[in-house]
């Protein structure tokens, strides 16, 4: 079964009606989509947790999907909200995520474009986006990021903090 919009929307409609088989198929198709997307966004150690967290959110909030609207933008919004929430919590814990940058695969680029996270980062001021990419996505330490970005260490921290705050506010604005 393919994870195209029509199939996913049909399965979600059946899931809202209580069809356990359709729901299991839907989750089975959504999980690899989320896994591929999140793989470029979080540390490998956090990947499973984030996918599970998002699937739980899908389960708890499934009534919020309007059957007259497309499914993938809804899934993308839920996924992005969980991702930003995790980044924010990680920021509070001052935990620098490690990141294993896997090459973009064919098909994945379209998915990422659809989910719009890179475009979301592009909406931030360049200094904030660069600090988040360096520290939160590429896994550099604050000292390494400061050297690479030619910002002071405190400026890197401020840019990460402000960028994440702005990112959270932007989470539902991007196309």
């Amino acid at each position: 079964m393919t994870s195209d919009e029509a199939t996913l929307a049909r399965l979600m409609r059946s899931s809202q009606a209580g069809d356990a088989v359709a729901y299991r198929q839907l989750l089975g198709l959504a999980a690899p989509l989320l896994m591929r997307w999140f793989r470029r966004k979080v540390a490998p150690a956090d990947l499973d947790d984030l996918v599970q967290d998002t699937l739980l959110a899908v389960h708890q909030r499934r009534a919020s999907w309007d059957p007259s609207r497309p499914f993938l933008p809804w899934l993308a919004a839920i996924a992005r909200y969980r991702w930003v929430d995790r980044l924010r919590r990680a920021s509070v814990r001052n935990h620098d995520a490690l990141f294993d940058d896997i090459a973009v695969e064919s098909g994945e680029a379209a998915l990422i474009g659809r989910l719009g996270c890179d475009r979301l980062l592009a909406l931030l001021p360049p200094a904030q986006a660069a600090a988040i990419r360096a520290v939160k996505i590429e896994g550099l330490s604050v000292i390494e990021a400061a050297g690479q970005l030619r910002q002071s260490e405190s400026m890197v921290k401020v840019n990460v903090h402000r960028g994440l705050k702005r990112l959270a506010a932007l989470v539902d604005e991007d196309v």
Binding site: S15, Q16, A17, G18, D19, A20, V21, Y23, R24, L27, G28, A31, P32, M35, R36, D48, V51, Q52, L55, L56, A57, H59, Q60, R61, R62, A63, S64, W65, D66, P67, R69, P70, P73, W74, A76, A77, I78, R80, Y81, I102, E105, S106, G107, E108, R114, L115, G116, A168, A169, V171, D172, E173, D174, V175
Partner: protein, 223 residues
């Protein structure tokens, strides 16, 4: 494309969720809009029974300022309330569509009142001072905010049942919508037709409710 490697823990979670799936009714905006309209109608009726209707309305000859104010507040209230309801159904890119942007245009139009009021206040400082110190201004503020608080309940309840992914924006919209509706209800009693009065006291009521919504509501709807 990388093969998806099934993870036993993830598979177990999906199995468990599927076994426990129950039918759910897709979240419908219309009942909430109906409850909101009912709450507003009841409050406006009680307020009119207590404070009384404007004299020009009693005479069946509404003043142009009343009509302009009512129209603006009604439009702003309805468009913002619709934007609040749509916040319960997330979707990447949805804010660029329909209600996602309409409230901004309505708010910009409504801003003409405080702006015009400020210009006229510079021109007529004595009148502005009189309007600013009008005792009924505080009543306008109090009654509008009280009505706004009650109108906010069904909207917050709706958002809690949905999946708002921008809680700050949703909170701001709740405040804007309910502040406008609260001011609309009090407007049926308010005897003033001054642009300065309208710009100041109605502006403070709607602005105050918007700020309060932005600060309070996100804590109630975050998930």
């Amino acid at each position: 494309m990388t093969e998806f490697t099934p993870n036993p823990q993830l598979e177990a979670l999906m199995d468990r969720l599927a076994v426990n799936v129950r039918p759910v009714q897709p979240l419908d905006d219309r009942p909430t809009m109906l409850v909101l309209a009912t709450v507003l109608l009841v409050i406006a009726t009680l307020m009119m029974a207590w404070l009384g209707l404007r004299a020009d309305l009693m005479a069946g000859q509404p003043h142009p300022m009343f009509l302009l104010r009512s129209g603006t507040l009604t439009l702003l209230g309805i468009i913002s309330a619709a934007a609040v309801l749509s916040q319960a159904h997330p979707g990447v890119g949805r804010n660029r569509q329909s209600w996602g942007q309409g409230w901004k245009a309505a708010a910009a139009m409504a801003l003409l009142f405080p702006l015009s009021g400020a210009v006229m206040a510079f021109d007529q400082p004595d009148h502005a001072m009189a309007m600013a110190s009008a005792a009924s201004g505080w009543e306008c503020l109090r009654m509008s905010l009280l009505t706004a608080s009650l109108c906010a309940m069904p909207l917050v309840w709706h958002l809690r049942r949905g999946a708002p992914v921008a809680p700050e924006r949703a909170g701001l919209l709740v405040g804007l919508a309910t502040g406008s509706l609260g001011a609309l209800a009090y407007n049926l009693h308010c005897p003033f037709n001054s642009m300065v009065y309208t710009g100041l006291w109605y502006g403070v009521a709607v602005g105050g409710a918007t700020v309060a919504g932005r600060l309070i509501v996100p804590r109630l709807i975050r998930w």
